[in-house]
C-alpha cells in the first residue's frame, strides 16, 4: 500500500514519579491524547492549569478516521493555536453531488456565509490534526504529555482520583484532584468505574478506504444512493488532503469484515465506482460499525468524560471530533473556576447539562441521517426513494434528502447559566448562542471578532464614539473575584485609552448582534453569549456573572 503520510513515533520518557519514587498530587490528569484529549490539555493550559496527559500509544491516529472539521471546531482550534495549520493543510470544498441509481439527482454549492474568518468546514485526515495538536502541546511547558503510559486502574474518593499507570519502566501511581477521561468510544476509564453508556447499535457495517488518486479529481463530496456499482447500499466519496480520497461503502450487517477488507475485494468496488481507467492506489482500509449512545451524565464526582468516551454518534454529519472539541471548550474554563475556588463544584453539573443537550442534538441529527441513508423498512425505503425522485425537479424534495447534516454548534438556549433577556433583540445571538464571527479592525490592523474573545469573561459594549466611554467604570468590572474584561466595539475608528477597543469596520458586528449604542453582551470564556442588555448596569452584570459561574 502507498504511504502519503509518515506516522511520527513519540518518545517515551520515564515519568517523574518513577524517577523520584514519590507520588505527586496533580491538579488535573487527562487520559487519551486524541483530538479531544489534546484539545482539553491545551484549553486547560490556556486557563493556567498544569496538565498531565497520558496516552497508552506512541503515535497519532492510524488511517484518516475523522475527516471533516466544521467551523465551530476550527474556531476552537484557533484558540488552541492550531487553526491556521489545520486550515492551511485542509481541503475546502463547497460542491456536493447526490446520485440516485444511475443519475445525478441534484448538486448543491455550500457557498460560505461571508464575513466569517473560518469556512463551514475543511476536510483533513485526523492524523494531521493530532500531529498539529501534539506539536502545540509539546511547546507548552504546562503540559506534560506522557506517551506509552497506560492507565490500568482507577479509584475515586471524595477528594480526588488515584490511577495506576503501566509504563515500559513498570507501574506507578498518580493522584489527581480531577480526572478527565478522553479515552474514546470504548473508554477503559468508564469501564473501570463501572459506568453505563446507553443507546443503540446500528445493525450495519461500513467499509472505509483511503485512496490516493493519481489523476485530477474534483474537490467535491459525492454521495450515491443505491448506485449500479453497489446496489441497494450507499457510497460516499470525500476529498482529503494530499490527493487522498476517503470512500465509505455501506456493506450491510451480514458482511464479513475480514473478507471485505482484503484488497482483492476492495479494489474492484472502487474501480466500478470510478467507472473508468483512472489510476489510484489504496492507502488504508477498515470496516466499522457504529453506535448512537451517550452516558446519562458526563460528570461523575471527580471524573469528567469528554468526546467519544461520553457520547458516540454515527459518522454521518461529522459530529464526533467536532462535538468532542466543543466539550473541551465548555469544560476548561469551568474547571478553572472550580479549581481556583471561585465557583462551586456544582458548576461542573452545567458542563454535563450543556453538553448532554448538545449530544442529544447531535444524536438526533446523526440518527436521522442514518435512518434516511439506510432505511429500516419497506415503507421507509419507499419514502426515501420518493424524496430522491422529487429532489430532481423540486426544491422541497431536495430539502428532505438527508445524506448527513453539517455539524453546527448547539444554541444552549435552555442552559441554567444564561440570564434571560429583559430587553428586546432581533437576530440569533440570544443567551446560550455560540458567538457569530465578524470582520473588525484593531489598532488599524484587520482581524476577526472571535480573535479578540475567548479564555476570559468579557463584556462587549457597543458605542458610537469611544471617547464617550466611562473608562474608569468599565475597567473596574470585577464581579466578586471574577474579572470581566471590557471590549469596546466602535462604529468609529478611534482607540480608547487602556481599554480594548475594536472598530466594527464594515458594520457586521453591529448587525449580527442587533446592537445599538449602549448595547452590552456578557461573553463567556468559551465564546458563548451569557447575557445581553440595551445598557450597562453594574448590578445586573454582577448577577449575570454569578449565574454564569453557577453561584446562583
Amino acid at each position: 500500500m502507498l504511504k502519503t503520510y509518515t506516522y511520527p513515533k513519540y518518545a517515551y520518557r520515564t515519568p517523574p514519579e518513577i524517577a523520584s519514587g514519590k507520588v505527586l498530587k496533580l491538579p488535573v490528569v487527562v487520559v487519551g491524547a486524541g483530538p479531544v484529549g489534546l484539545g482539553m490539555a491545551l484549553d486547560l493550559d490556556l486557563q493556567g492549569i498544569p496538565v498531565v496527559l497520558l496516552d497508552e500509544d506512541d503515535t497519532v491516529s492510524i488511517g484518516s478516521r475523522g475527516v471533516c472539521y466544521a467551523k465551530r471546531a476550527l474556531e476552537i482550534l484557533d484558540r488552541y493555536g492550531v487553526g491556521d495549520a489545520v486550515c492551511a493543510k485542509g481541503v475546502s470544498w463547497n460542491v456536493g453531488r447526490t446520485f440516485f441509481r444511475e443519475s445525478e439527482v441534484y448538486n448543491f454549492n455550500l457557498v460560505p456565509e461571508p464575513d466569517h474568518h473560518r469556512p463551514g468546514m475543511v476536510n483533513l485526515q485526523q492524523y494531521y490534526l493530532e500531529e498539529y495538536l501534539v506539536t502545540q502541546a509539546a511547546s507548552r511547558p504546562g503540559i506534560d504529555l506522557r506517551w506509552t503510559n497506560k492507565v490500568v486502574s482507577v479509584a475515586q474518593a471524595a477528594s480526588g482520583v488515584a490511577l495506576k499507570v503501566e509504563t515500559p519502566d513498570g507501574m506507578y501511581t498518580v493522584e489527581a484532584d480531577w480526572l478527565i477521561a478522553a479515552d474514546g468510544a470504548r473508554s477503559p476509564i468508564r469501564r473501570m468505574l463501572g459506568l453505563e453508556v446507553e443507546g443503540k447499535i446500528f445493525m450495519d457495517r461500513f467499509l472505509i478506504a483511503d485512496v490516493v488518486m493519481k489523476a485530477d479529481f474534483p474537490a467535491e463530496r459525492w454521495f450515491w444512493f443505491d448506485p449500479p456499482f453497489h446496489p441497494n447500499q450507499s457510497v460516499l466519496l470525500h476529498k482529503q488532503t494530499d490527493s487522498v480520497f476517503r470512500i465509505d461503502f455501506q456493506l450491510g450487517w451480514d458482511a464479513d469484515p475480514e473478507e471485505e477488507k482484503k484488497p482483492e475485494n476492495v479494489l474492484p468496488r472502487i474501480r466500478a465506482m470510478l467507472g473508468d481507467e483512472r489510476e489510484f492506489e489504496l492507502e488504508w482500509v477498515s470496516v466499522y460499525t457504529f453506535q448512537c449512545r451517550r452516558m446519562g451524565r458526563f460528570n461523575h464526582g471527580r471524573v469528567l468524560f469528554v468526546g467519544d468516551a461520553a457520547h458516540q454518534v454515527s459518522p454521518f454529519g461529522a459530529r464526533g471530533a467536532n462535538s468532542g472539541l466543543q466539550d473541551a471548550d465548555n469544560l476548561g474554563w469551568k474547571l478553572k473556576l472550580v479549581v481556583d475556588g471561585k465557583a462551586p463544584a456544582s458548576l461542573l453539573d452545567s458542563y454535563s447539562e450543556e453538553r448532554v443537550y448538545a449530544a442529544d442534538e447531535n444524536l438526533m441529527n446523526s440518527t436521522r441521517s442514518t435512518d434516511f441513508i439506510t432505511p429500516k423498512s419497506r415503507a421507509s425505503r419507499t419514502f426515501r426513494n420518493a424524496a430522491l425522485g422529487l429532489a430532481k425537479d423540486h426544491a422541497f424534495g431536495r430539502a428532505l434528502v438527508n445524506s448527513g447534516r453539517l455539524s453546527v454548534p448547539s444554541y444552549l438556549v435552555a442552559s441554567s447559566l444564561n440570564t434571560p433577556d429583559e430587553d428586546s433583540f432581533a437576530g440569533r445571538m440570544l443567551p446560550g448562542a455560540p458567538m457569530d464571527d465578524a470582520p473588525i479592525e484593531q489598532d488599524g490592523i484587520p482581524g476577526w471578532l472571535l480573535q479578540s474573545t475567548g479564555n476570559r469573561f468579557q463584556m462587549m459594549v457597543f458605542v458610537d464614539d469611544p471617547a464617550t466611554v466611562d473608562v474608569a467604570a468599565l475597567s473596574a468590572l470585577d464581579c466578586d473575584g471574577i474579572r470581566v474584561e471590557p471590549l469596546i466595539i466602535s462604529r468609529r475608528a478611534v482607540s480608547a485609552d487602556s481599554l480594548a477597543c475594536i472598530y466594527d469596520v464594515r458594520g457586521v458586528t453591529y448587525q449580527r448582534y442587533d446592537a445599538r449604542p449602549g448595547t452590552a453582551y456578557l461573553i463567556r470564556p468559551d465564546q458563548h453569549v451569557a447575557a445581553r442588555w440595551r445598557g450597562v448596569d453594574a448590578a445586573k452584570l454582577r448577577a449575570a456573572v454569578a449565574r454564569a459561574c453557577g453561584r446562583s
Binding site: 435512518d371 423498512s377 419497506r378 419514502f383 430539502a399 428532505l400 438527508n402 453546527v408
Partner: protein
C-alpha cells in the same frame, strides 16, 4: 391555490437555527408513524394520510396538480 414546491414546513412557536431542521422534524415523524407496521398496514396508513391531507387542502385544482407531479415520477 398554486401547488407550492418550495420547502414549506415549520411548527408554530418553534425557533429554527438551521434550514434543514423543520423538514427533518417532519420526516422523522413520518417514518416514526410507520414503526412496527406491516407493509400492508403501512400502505393503509399512507392512504388514510393522503385522504386526511387532501381534505385539509380542500382545493381540488391544487390536488389535481399534486397528483400530476406525483405521477410523473412513477
Amino acid at each position: 391555490m398554486v401547488l407550492n414546491l418550495n420547502p414549506n414546513l415549520s411548527e408554530a412557536g418553534k425557533r429554527y437555527f438551521n434550514a434543514y431542521s423543520p423538514g427533518d422534524d417532519f420526516y422523522e415523524l413520518l417514518i416514526g408513524a410507520h414503526r412496527d407496521l406491516s407493509d400492508e398496514q403501512s400502505e393503509l396508513l399512507n392512504a388514510r394520510l393522503i385522504l386526511l391531507l387532501a381534505n385539509h387542502i380542500g382545493d381540488i385544482g391544487t390536488l389535481r396538480e399534486a397528483l400530476a407531479v406525483a405521477r410523473e415520477g412513477v
